[in-house]
Symmetry: C2
Subunit: 404 residues, 2 copies
Amino acid sequence: MQNHSGTSLQERIYLDHNATTPHSPVLKQRWSELYEVSGNPSSIHQDSRITKTWLRETRQKFADYLNCSTLELIFNSGASEGNSSILKSVWNFKKDSKPEMLISSVEHPSVIKTAEYLETMGAIIHWIPVARSGQIDLAFIKSKLSEKTSLVSVMFANNETGTIFPIKEISTLAHGAGALMHSDCVQMLGKYDLQAHELRLKEFDLDYATFSAHKFYALSGTGVVYVKKNSPWVSLVHGGGQERSRRGGTENVLGIASLGLVMEEVKNSSVKVNEMFRLRNLMEAQILKEISRCTVTAAEYPRLSNTSSLVIQDIDGETLLMSLDLKGFAVSTGAACSSGNPEPSPVLLMMGLSRAEAQSSLRISLGWSTTEAQVQLFILTLKEVVEKLRSINLSAKDYENVSR
Amino acid sequence: MQNHSGTSLQERIYLDHNATTPHSPVLKQRWSELYEVSGNPSSIHQDSRITKTWLRETRQKFADYLNCSTLELIFNSGASEGNSSILKSVWNFKKDSKPEMLISSVEHPSVIKTAEYLETMGAIIHWIPVARSGQIDLAFIKSKLSEKTSLVSVMFANNETGTIFPIKEISTLAHGAGALMHSDCVQMLGKYDLQAHELRLKEFDLDYATFSAHKFYALSGTGVVYVKKNSPWVSLVHGGGQERSRRGGTENVLGIASLGLVMEEVKNSSVKVNEMFRLRNLMEAQILKEISRCTVTAAEYPRLSNTSSLVIQDIDGETLLMSLDLKGFAVSTGAACSSGNPEPSPVLLMMGLSRAEAQSSLRISLGWSTTEAQVQLFILTLKEVVEKLRSINLSAKDYENVSR
């Protein structure tokens, strides 16, 4: 397949896995079979049995992985729907007695925008500060938690910097105050080795968690929410009795099938996670050595294995991204969903970076198939492009000085 | 691919196209290419250009077909989301001045359940009666419409009986009273020849319409809503700026691509629609001739080309369905999303059928690939199965009489 500039995608090096992941080769093996998956799982006849089976098997695999009950999982269209549903559900049930929520200031837009929407309905949102080191303000959480708090929502790991937040500690605080705990876990699967940390979802003691299939090598348009037994839930999408009447609409059977197919890989991704970690650290060390006036954001606290957020001074991130793109590398300046927005990353600004720093930022996110050769080529190209852009900037400044 | 009873699906005859359609052969041709479609359309780099292009092209094709602006279309996860979004949007904007809605009593559960949810919030819903002939009660609409009515929602065609409602007439009434008009058009595409009737969506004068890709040979998990310019809209799913900030979340790019690929077929489906119409009529005439005590529901009013809802007296619909299933035929008793529910179809009950009649109902819905040979084989089998079941019933009654 050719992309629109005529170069082959195979030759390109994709380093934007936090935006979306390519489809797993496991899906390729089963791809022709997936074409046949079209029965409506709600039908009674045999033609629906395959899709029913896909649904059941995927649900079971996911529950096994998270160590929860299959009844606690709801399939939906993705994490934005999951996050919207959870915040609105809690608000609906608790608004009278507990109108306050604590939400980290570096959440994904689906959490931020839903919370802002709830603010227009009367909710009081306390935005939890996160420092540029990546440290979340636990003292702030303690000071704002009260019997009026319905929900604390802090993502497992940030999509832009990779910062992993101390979810267990925060959920303990939340529950201590009688609040529910939600974590957007979109960037967890395939990038963080749950089992190596002897952790399962249960150990985080969450009431809600959100996942999105296209962030771990399955198809886009499918998500899962974990809703702990007896937690408040209001259907956002009403319909037939699908998902035990918690989410209506004919299921995205192909997406759910793809999710089931990749779960074995996700489960056994320790080696891949460790390799991404090694490559990311190697990459950062070399970049810091070879490119002057460059820093890694939030390197002081635990991060995902694959993510690197750089500030490269005197460089416009968007120009850098486009220059790298022309040379065959896919990276990003911030979250994909804010791309095309001329404003610098709100997450980085919230973390205390200056506008100039945020505008000079670049996010590199490695994937399972990233190789050391690719990383080396990337470093070489990045160095070359940064030097070139800086020299142009310098000439432009000289020109300005002359013309004055 | 084998189904779970070991018989090949290829040998089976699928007559349940109103529940879901098999994937178009057009998708099969492009299937391997679709595997490559994984870029996040919101990214800036080249790897996102293919998915961006799919989105743009599908939107343009759909807008061309409906004769509307691309800005009036929002991609989502399916018609249940579409219907939920529309009813909730109108309620959100109009609840204070216009707390009433008129909704047909035979709508899809996604409309009914959303309306019932709004009732708990204070909405007053007037349920428009539909007679067993298929006739909708226009006098009722006229009598209930007032300056307090925010929305009239009547589906284009009913999924169980195929009845086509006089949408243009109803939208004229709605607009005359200052209400907005919504139509769930899920059963329209591919089953009704818009162009043969010299109609485009514009001519129905709708404010909202809902569509679902898996009802016309594309993938499940993708829908489109038509929202006429300046109509009220509140995001149900918040997130990044996708769909001009009207529907957040990374798009189901594969589903949207599939939708674009089938649009050419949908556009040119006149011949297929006419053939389904011929086969359906032929089938019904022959069934009525060969099977005693059998009637066609709502045959008196215009119906979709492909749908037939039968009442076969002294037969339990579910038993009949399962007997036919064992013989290789996929049909249904009512809507797929209510399958497994022991209650008889609420739609048929609403239309005035008795419980016994509703429980003796069978829905047959033909598709583009249905052949006359398949239909003949179906009629033969249906006759055989009905006779068998009736004779068992008779013996059972004899037995009861004897044992008393």
